[in-house]
Assembly symmetry: C2
Homo-oligomer: 571 residues x 2
Amino acid sequence: MTRLFNDPDDFAAEMTTGLAAASARWLRAVPGGVVRSTEADGPTVSLVVGGGSGHYPAFAGLVGPGLAHGAAMGNLFASPSTQQIHSVAAAADRGRGVLMSYGNYAGDVLNFDAAQARLRDAGVDCRTVVVTDDVSSAADPALRRGIAGDLCVFKVAGAACEAGHDLDGVERVARLANERTRSLGVAFDGCTLPGAGSPLFTVPDGRMAVGLGIHGEPGIDETDVPTAAGLAELLVRGLLAERPAGAGDRVVPILNGLGSVKYEELYVVYGAVHRLLGEAGLTVVDPEVGEFCTSFDMAGASLTLLWLDDAPGELERLWTAPCDTPAFRRGAVAGHHGTTAAPQDTAAGAPAAVLEGSPGSRACGARVAAAFDAVAAVLDAEADRLGRLDRVAGDGDHGIGMQRGGRAAREAAADAAARGAGAGTVLRHAADAWGDRAGGTSGAIWAALLDALGTALGDTGTPDTAAVAAAVRAAERAVAAAGGAAVGDKTMVDALVPFATVLDERVGAGEDLPVAWADAADAAGRAAEDTARLTARLGRARAHGERSVGTPDPGAVSFALVVRTAGEHLC
Amino acid sequence: MTRLFNDPDDFAAEMTTGLAAASARWLRAVPGGVVRSTEADGPTVSLVVGGGSGHYPAFAGLVGPGLAHGAAMGNLFASPSTQQIHSVAAAADRGRGVLMSYGNYAGDVLNFDAAQARLRDAGVDCRTVVVTDDVSSAADPALRRGIAGDLCVFKVAGAACEAGHDLDGVERVARLANERTRSLGVAFDGCTLPGAGSPLFTVPDGRMAVGLGIHGEPGIDETDVPTAAGLAELLVRGLLAERPAGAGDRVVPILNGLGSVKYEELYVVYGAVHRLLGEAGLTVVDPEVGEFCTSFDMAGASLTLLWLDDAPGELERLWTAPCDTPAFRRGAVAGHHGTTAAPQDTAAGAPAAVLEGSPGSRACGARVAAAFDAVAAVLDAEADRLGRLDRVAGDGDHGIGMQRGGRAAREAAADAAARGAGAGTVLRHAADAWGDRAGGTSGAIWAALLDALGTALGDTGTPDTAAVAAAVRAAERAVAAAGGAAVGDKTMVDALVPFATVLDERVGAGEDLPVAWADAADAAGRAAEDTARLTARLGRARAHGERSVGTPDPGAVSFALVVRTAGEHLC
């Protein structure tokens, strides 16, 4: 379990402060993460990596000459927000373009894509290579999650930047590295996030979950804990069955500990891995044994194979090229010098200016702020339940993400309202704060929803019933555009669409807003119950060993909670 | 807990095999441990480090250019044997002398000193600098244990070797580094050795042991788990109070995780450490945060300060000099190339030749072998109990060490007897095997005891009662010479001396050997009960928070067990 923290809410920020203090030779903090504290002799393409925190050395431990130029650091196990990624990428850009690379998780894709769009709008050439090395996470290679194989893709891309490749060239080798990288992991026990009352997940004593994700995402099998040799066989056999097209007979094995499976155990396993790879006719190149992608003190390990060509070639040259970062170093990197840029504070800086609203809109803004206050209290109370629901199908961070988002929105809304903002500005400030502090998929979606509501309502006049219904419709469209989910996918959209539809109907039929809103909230609640029931069924099926294809998230449940609570204060 | 292993008895050897396969760029296996697989352009002084396994990257992970030349790798948490250390040092020596450096533990001192004596006998100039950084382990700096501060002493000494210093020069800076290195550690929970039924030690839930050793040696205080900032304050305050004489205002902080306190937590703590050092007017140089001396998955952390001079000087230059090892790298080391030396096997090689004994001595040798068979069975059965006794005062490895020693001696004795050896050779082969496989303090002492017995009895004639009593007296003298303990120190000597005395008396009074031996064994048993009672009292006192000055070991208990069992088969 994680024992050392101050206020759990400050953990990620304090971790970044400590990392920057300890690693000033390599990096400095910027809003949203870290960038190199060194400068190359000439500008190169910039590699920006990132993801949730809690996986050190992924991602910030891999920033330095020959590897990444910056890392966007989300909250614990939560995607960095769009703002965070944009801030890091903008600080890392040297005018030759940015390659973004990260593990394939919905929240990361959403936020990195949005940041990429912003960079492109500003004229920065930006590409993305998503890492998909975890063979157990999906049959289709394109849908797989990214785990310890991140390192292979980052290292090859970083070396290509260092070698002076243009953005096309860096993107090409990064994509090739991802196609040639395969990982398989196992876990013996879960981890507990700072301040959490219970582990994020557990594995029964004496058992081993095969293919369990680095946030506890369900695996594909459960067995008794094997011997070290038995585990080596399972991992090597599983990966040899997934040999990528075009791969030669030279491989880089990376045996990774997730946190509390330690070096001596890993070396015992590695001895057998090395022998088995040799017996399979493969030549082992430059192996790595250690901790490259952890999950706090999760008890688990993974094996990654980076498949090279038959003769030492481009990938091998890039993999073995020098690099110098806090957590991964090899050889000597020439042509870099420290920079004197003053370390930037990680705080968000001065508050955004507020344009004062009309008297009616200001009154409405105050009611919106009161609604956020109530919503934050409800999300505080329900965070544990939402986390448990999320654990059945996902990584268990939904409760804590909604809680963080709600608290941040409450503060931002209260501040804006106190400074005379209208309803639109209160909502848009709340949207930014929610997205920035919650991170993850739900953070990005809620930010889009609130921002669209605020834009629709504006800061002048008192919004009437029809204006509210229209604003909700606009929010519905914004969520659909951001998330890509449809009704029936068992996400927040399953509750949002009936809510907007019923609200529209009742308002169209002449109902007052309080009645119309209550009816709409009831419809959202019924939809949420459906997804909750499906989630419970999924949990039981998993407990019986079934591998379900459905992965409902608790977004509908939390959405219904929020609209019911907000309605009591808005209307 | 440690989950991944095959046969626990093979763990250390298999770990070395895996390490050598994964780290061939830096090192290769030799009997007893590992040495560099690279060769410097010109010969330098060789730095040989070592200790028990289970602390990776200490010690084998620190072998490579700019750091150590070889590491003697003992069994888990047990000192390497004299033979192991000698083998590694002989392989590492390049004709300019050997500096040995290791943490201050009784077993390591005993075995490294014996290996040093052998090297000096063979004309190799050899010096020793024992690391004593753990401020909580004793008030007298010379008596303190060595923990994560090992790295500071090794790094400075290795850099001095690399810089071409002669042995005097390397010894001088290593001694200076040790005088300037102070560490303080805490633990939240223990670790379980491969295949063990229970943890080596535990810390109550929600509590923190202050100053607990890396093998679970008792600490100086127990508190509730503090906040990260609270821990930083405790560690910094404790170390500032121990500022060494002659230290300047520049310090290197090393925040070390013991195994399952992970990087994110360490960085949160480090942020506060960094701030507190600055507030104390100190300049932080080149900090390190990570895992440098672990204890499997023990939950704990330690802070080390290496105190430099006021202006950047010799120590700082040596600390920051380049090095390249599996687990610790910085900068680029010039002037080294890989060697083509065939990897040596870690097996002990061909069996030693046996000189056939006289018929009477051969019969006696067969009885000795039968006695070892019975002793090994008893030690198997009692290993857990001996381990528990040892855990009160020491590191809990006595049971497993005696078990390993007994098994190895049984095999060696049976083999020698089958090949026609006399009693003396059977005992001396058993002595070598016991010392080599058991490691630790008790391994070295039992090897000395059995070797002296064998030398005294010889391989000709049937030893009579008087010869046996005289041989036991010789063994008693050998143990006193090797261990330096006296009666009353609550060690094995407390049982050995009454055993030898009573045996002498009874034999002198004309008793037959069976009766005399049984009386002597009874005397040893009574002495052992006294130390066991003291140990139990110590355990209760510690449980009530007392810090006892006595540290009885279970050597008397196991000695009494062995002589009682052996007597039934010898006489």
